[in-house]
C-alpha cells in the first residue's frame, strides 16, 4: 500500500507531511503546480473536488483536509512512532480542541499576514496595512491564551506532543521567517520555549530541508 501525498511543497500540506515523517512512514509525493492552476485540472478535481491541497492517497483510499489527514495517519499508525493523539479519551479531547483552535483562531489571522507580507510582493502588490495591523492584533490575542496554557503544560494538549502542536508548524515558520514577526513568539516566554521544542524536532527539520518552497 503506497502512501502518496500531493503538493508537498505547500504549507498546509506540510501538516500532513510532518505527521508522516513523525510516524516513520515511507511515502511518495506528487507535485501540483498551484501557480499554473494545476489543482483545477480534472484529474486533480477527481481526487479533491474543492481543488485544494493536500490530498493523501492510501491505496484505494483517499482523504483530504490537512488536519483530517493528520488524524487518519495518527490513528492508523497509532502503534508506531510517538502517539500524537493522547492516551485517554480526555487527552484525545484536548488534542481535538487545540487542533480546532489552530484551525479557527490561529490560522486565519496568520494566513492573512502570510498572504499580505510574503506573497503580495511577488505580484508586485503593496500589502494592505490595515489588514496586517488587525491580523497582528488578533494573532497576538490568541498567542496570549497560548502563553497561559503553555505555562501550565509543556505542550498544548498536555505534557505530550500531539497533532495540535504539529499543526502549527508550517505557518508559524512563515511568522518567524519571511513575515518578520518572530518577536510575537520570542516575547512570550512559554510560547517561545514551546516553539523551539517543536520546530527543532527531527521530523520538522526534515520537512524544511526536503520540501522547501522556492520563493
Amino acid at each position: 500500500m503506497v502512501l502518496t501525498i500531493y503538493a508537498p511543497l505547500f504549507a498546509s500540506s506540510k501538516r500532513a507531511v510532518v505527521t508522516l515523517i513523525e510516524k516513520g512512514l515511507e511515502f511518495e509525493t506528487v507535485n501540483v503546480d498551484l501557480l499554473k492552476g494545476e489543482q483545477k485540472n480534472p484529474e486533480y478535481i477527481a481526487i479533491q473536488p474543492f481543488g485544494k491541497i493536500p490530498v493523501l492517497v492510501d491505496g484505494d483510499y483517499k482523504i483530504f483536509e490537512s488536519r483530517a489527514i493528520m488524524r487518519y495517519i495518527a490513528e492508523k499508525y497509532r502503534s508506531q512512532g510517538p502517539d500524537l493523539l493522547g492516551k485517554t479519551v480526555e487527552e484525545r479531547g484536548q488534542v481535538e480542541q487545540w487542533l480546532d483552535v489552530e484551525a479557527t483562531s490561529y490560522h486565519p489571522p496568520l494566513l492573512a499576514l502570510t498572504l499580505n507580507i510574503v506573497f503580495a510582493p511577488l505580484m508586485g502588490l503593496v500589502a494592505d496595512e490595515k489588514v496586517i495591523k488587525e491580523s497582528e492584533e488578533k494573532l497576538g490575542e490568541v498567542l496570549d491564551v497560548y502563553e497561559a496554557q503553555l505555562s501550565k503544560n509543556e505542550y498544548l494538549a498536555g505534557d505530550f506532543v500531539s497533532l495540535a502542536d504539529l499543526a502549527h508548524l508550517p505557518f508559524t515558520e512563515y511568522l518567524v521567517g519571511p513575515i518578520g514577526k518572530a518577536n510575537m513568539i520570542k516575547d512570550r516566554k512559554h510560547v517561545s520555549a514551546w516553539w523551539d521544542k517543536i520546530s527543532n524536532r527531527p521530523a520538522w527539520k526534515e520537512v524544511s530541508e526536503k520540501f522547501a518552497l522556492p520563493i
Partner: protein
C-alpha cells in the same frame, strides 16, 4: 568650465515606420563618460581579473517584477547571473539587500558599478544600453514612433498591471491557501480589466503589437501578469477577444519568455 563630451551621433535606424509619417532625423545619443562600459572587473580575494562585468540580477523567479527583467535579458541574449534573494528569511528587507534597493523589493540589477531597481527602469536601461544586441525592444523609426512605445509602456504600468496583479493575487495565492477568493472583489477587478482589454482589442486590430510592428517593452512588460492569469479562470477575458488572444499567444510563445518560465521549475 565643464565640458560635455559627446560621442559621435549614430543612427539607430534609417527607415521610418509605415504607420506614422516621420521626419528622417537621426537620433543623437549623448553618452556620459562616467558610465563607460567597464571591460575590466577586478575582483577581490581569490578571483583573477575577468574581462567583462557580468550582469547580476538579485531576485526570485516567482516574482513578476523579476520575471520582467529576466525576459528583457533573455531577449537581448545577455549573459547574467541570477542571485537568489532568500525572501523566506526576509533577506530582501535587510542589509545587504537594502543597499541595492532601499525599498526592500525585488529585483535589483547590477551592471558593473551601476545598481538599478524598479523593473521597468531596468528593462528600459537594458533596451537602451544594449540596443545593438538581440531583439530591439523599441520601435524602429523616428521620435514619434518611439514616443508611441512610451505611451503603451505607461499603459501597461498604469492601467493594466495594477488590476491584473490584484486578480492574479486573488486567484492564485488565495487559491494556494485554500481560501475562497472573494467573488465580488474578483468580479469588480475583472470588470475593470475588461475595459482595458477592449481598448487593447481595438488597438491590436490596427497594430500587430501594442506600440508598432515590432515586439517592444510595451508588450514584454505584460508577460508576467498574463502568464499567471492564463493559469486561472480569468484567462477567458483574454481568450474571448480575438486580437488580444492572438497577441497573447504570440508574446507568450517567444523563446526568451519560455526560458524565464523554465527558471520557475528549477
Amino acid at each position: 568650465m565643464r565640458t560635455i563630451q559627446r560621442r559621435l551621433p549614430f543612427f539607430t535606424h534609417s527607415f521610418s515606420s509605415p504607420h506614422l509619417p516621420c521626419i528622417n532625423s537621426p537620433s543623437l545619443l549623448l553618452s556620459s563618460p562616467s558610465h563607460s562600459h567597464s571591460t575590466f572587473n577586478i575582483r577581490s580575494k581569490s578571483s583573477p581579473i575577468i574581462m567583462a562585468a557580468v550582469i547580476k540580477v538579485h531576485g526570485v523567479p516567482m516574482s513578476t517584477a523579476t520575471m520582467r527583467v529576466l525576459a528583457a535579458l533573455y531577449e537581448k541574449d545577455l549573459q547574467f547571473e541570477l542571485i537568489p534573494v532568500d525572501m523566506r528569511v526576509g533577506a530582501h528587507k535587510q542589509e545587504p539587500y537594502l543597499s541595492l534597493n532601499p525599498f526592500g523589493q525585488v529585483p535589483a540589477l547590477q551592471d558593473g558599478d551601476l545598481t538599478l531597481f524598479e523593473s521597468r527602469a531596468i528593462t528600459s536601461y537594458i533596451a537602451e544600453e544594449y540596443s545593438d544586441k538581440g531583439e530591439k525592444l523599441t520601435c524602429p523609426g523616428c521620435k514619434k514612433v518611439k514616443a508611441t512605445t512610451k505611451v503603451w509602456v505607461e499603459v501597461e504600468g498604469q492601467q493594466f498591471d495594477p488590476i491584473a496583479s490584484k486578480i492574479a493575487f486573488e486567484r492564485i495565492f488565495k487559491g494556494m491557501f485554500g481560501m475562497t477568493t472573494d467573488p465580488a472583489a474578483v468580479k469588480d477587478l475583472e470588470d475593470k480589466l475588461v475595459k482595458v482589454l477592449d481598448i487593447y482589442e481595438a488597438r491590436l486590430a490596427k497594430s500587430p503589437f501594442l506600440a508598432c510592428d515590432c515586439f517592444t517593452l510595451a508588450d514584454l512588460h505584460h508577460l508576467p501578469a498574463i502568464h499567471y492569469l492564463m493559469g486561472t479562470d480569468s484567462k477567458t477575458l483574454f481568450e474571448s477577444r480575438p486580437k488580444v488572444s492572438e497577441w497573447v499567444k504570440k508574446i507568450t510563445a517567444r523563446p526568451a519568455w519560455s526560458k524565464v518560465v523554465a527558471l520557475q521549475k528549477q
